[in-house]
């Protein structure tokens, strides 16, 4: 797409390929006559099936807007976004969305939050129970199944919300700064867990983040976005094999990638 070489050995072969072509999203101005806010303009992105892509960029560059379009919650003014060739125009159960905050239903237990998408999709209680047991195991919440959100730590809540997003076995998982409220150590652990999870499920992952270390640790490719209106300013490949661990990432590679990302992030503000 758009002149970029296809991802070697993967493109088109595995399900979960997410392609955005020339997306433009503008928000209606708050008052008549004011100019609309253009959140995205000319954003193109090709994420191969099973790939992990991190989106990084300054505040307000439209990262979250892109996720909302990809999740089918927001319509693009121009351009389109497809999953395995099919356009996304509405929320789709092949796509799981994890919000910045856990967004659990406070009156439901962890278990009933995780099975909420299954309930909405009309699964029988028996099937739900089977799937619940799997999901609780995957995110390590077996002991917390009957707790309510207020009884859970922030990390547990975010685990539950990830389990909820994965409950319907989506081909693509979209995460909007999912670990930004966790402390640095917990965050690193969650990043590694996310990688392990991805190995089991082979889900395509697009993760929005503010953290360069997080992006380098989890992603195959880091997409640096320009300030508003958002488009792809640069992409940085992280050539470290998976499965990854913190020790495995050699320092030279990390600092080179980090410097590269930083260089692209420091686009002067007045360009926008």
């Amino acid at each position: 797409m758009s002149g970029r070489p296809p991802i070697p050995d993967q493109a088109g072969s595995r399900p979960g390929r997410l392609v955005a072509e020339d997306l433009r999203v503008a928000f209606r101005p708050p008052s008549r006559g004011a100019t609309p806010t253009v959140a995205l303009d000319g954003l193109s992105l090709d994420v191969a099936g099973g790939e992990i892509v991190a989106l990084i960029g300054p505040n307000g560059c439209g990262k979250s807007t892109f996720l909302r379009v990809a999740a089918g919650l927001l319509a693009a003014e121009r351009g389109r976004i497809t999953l395995d060739g099919r356009p996304i125009t509405a929320p789709d159960d092949r796509i799981g969305l994890v919000f910045q905050e856990p967004r659990l239903l406070p009156w439901r237990t962890a278990a009933r939050n995780i099975t909420y998408p299954l309930e909405l999709a009309g699964w029988s209680p028996e099937r739900r129970a089977v799937r619940l047991a799997e999901m609780l195991h995957i995110v390590g919440l077996e002991a917390a199944a009957e707790l309510r959100p207020v009884q859970m730590s922030g990390g547990m809540q975010q685990r539950a919300s990830i389990a909820r997003a994965l409950a319907l076995s989506p081909a693509v998982l979209l995460l909007d700064e999912p670990f930004s409220s966790l402390d640095a150590l917990t965050r690193e652990r969650f990043n590694l867990e996310l990688l392990r999870l991805q190995e089991r499920t082979a889900t395509t992952i697009v993760i929005v983040t503010h953290s360069i270390p997080e992006a380098i640790l989890v992603a195959d490719r880091v997409i640096v976005m320009s300030p508003r209106p958002g488009r792809v300013a640069a992409e940085v490949r992280i050539d470290a094999p998976r499965p990854r661990s913190v020790e495995m990432l050699d320092e030279a590679l990390v600092s080179r990638a980090a410097a590269d990302i930083r260089a692209h992030l420091e686009i002067p503000e007045h360009v926008a």
Binding site: L73, P91, F99, L105, P106, W107, L120, V150, Q151, S153
Partner: protein, 292 residues
């Protein structure tokens, strides 16, 4: 995390009532209310019996002191023991029961009708700003006209029977329930609605899985107000024309029988009816909020 010591938001709305009823007893017991709601409600009340009895004794004492100090005649304020004796007597000899039963039926039917209509209209108002704009002047006007002024008219239209009272009750219950429902549903966290949208929830699923549970504390607050007003509505309706009911008995005792202790005993019965209705709503609230 402090684990079990915290609980979801409805508490600020629930707590004032428990505070007034049982002076904050058994708060810790409340938390795991899920399965033991009713039992816990009993346990709390047992825990609160001491202060309740003390308050009651103080009330009776003030009553007696007022009579003694003010030298009040029995037809102005009968003594508590006279009222108590008449209360027991009226229930024992079958004077009170038929009237009380009539009023109970009016209250229950009126409350059910008014609350159902209030829920439905409140939901509609919350859904559409247009409907709210078009309908609210009429709703407010209906609420602003004193029910006392409306009651004779309704009695004229619908006759002296049950129907007129049920309509009066329903009218008076309707408004607080509708407003509470509207406010409750409007205040649902938009992020939860976005979550539901991302999971492709249908309109109906959004209502049952997000809007109703989230609005429930507010709705139950409206029901609490509504149920006590329902008792007022029934009595007012009976005053406007009826042959049976506690409101009729009050008038009868005062105007025809000159039986002031009976009049006060009837007022006590009305108060107890109000307390009973209110307690039922509170109990239902504990159940619902516990199950959530």
């Amino acid at each position: 995390m402090s684990g079990r010591s915290t609980r979801y938001a409805p508490d600020p709305i629930l707590d004032p009532s428990t505070g007034t009823v049982v002076a904050g007893a058994g708060n810790a017991a409340d938390r795991d209310g899920a399965r033991f709601g009713a039992r816990l409600a009993l346990a709390r009340n047992v825990g609160g019996v001491g202060p309740v009895v003390a308050a009651f004794i103080a009330f009776v004492a003030i009553w007696k002191i007022a009579i003694a100090v003010g030298d009040l005649k029995p037809f102005v304020l009968p003594s508590p023991e006279a009222v108590a004796a008449r209360f027991i007597g009226a229930w024992a000899d079958g004077t009170m029961a038929p009237h009380a039963w009539t009023t109970v039926v009016e209250v229950l039917l009126g409350f059910a009708a008014g609350a159902s209509a209030g829920l439905a209209v409140g939901w509609l108002l919350a859904r559409s700003r247009l409907i709210e704009r078009l309908a609210s002047p009429y709703l407010v006007a209906a609420q602003a006209v004193p029910i006392l002024a409306l009651a004779p008219l309704l009695a004229l239209w619908f006759g002296p029977g049950l129907l007129a009272k049920v309509i009066i009750c329903a009218l008076i219950v309707f408004f607080p329930v509708a407003i509470a429902t509207m406010v409750g549903i409007r205040s649902v966290d938009r992020r939860l609605l976005e979550l539901a949208a991302s999971l492709r929830a249908t309109r109906r699923q959004v209502l049952t899985s997000i809007e109703i549970p989230a609005a429930l504390p507010a709705i139950l607050g409206g029901l609490r107000v509504g149920v006590t007003l329902a008792v007022v509505g029934a009595i007012v309706g009976e005053w406007a024309g009826a042959d049976k009911g506690l409101g009729v008995l009050v008038n009868l005792a005062r105007g025809s029988l000159f039986d002031y202790p009976l009049m006060f005993a009837t007022l006590v019965t009305i108060a107890l009816l109000g307390i009973a209705c209110y307690s039922l709503v509170v109990l239902a609230e504990r159940r619902l909020v516990g199950v959530r």
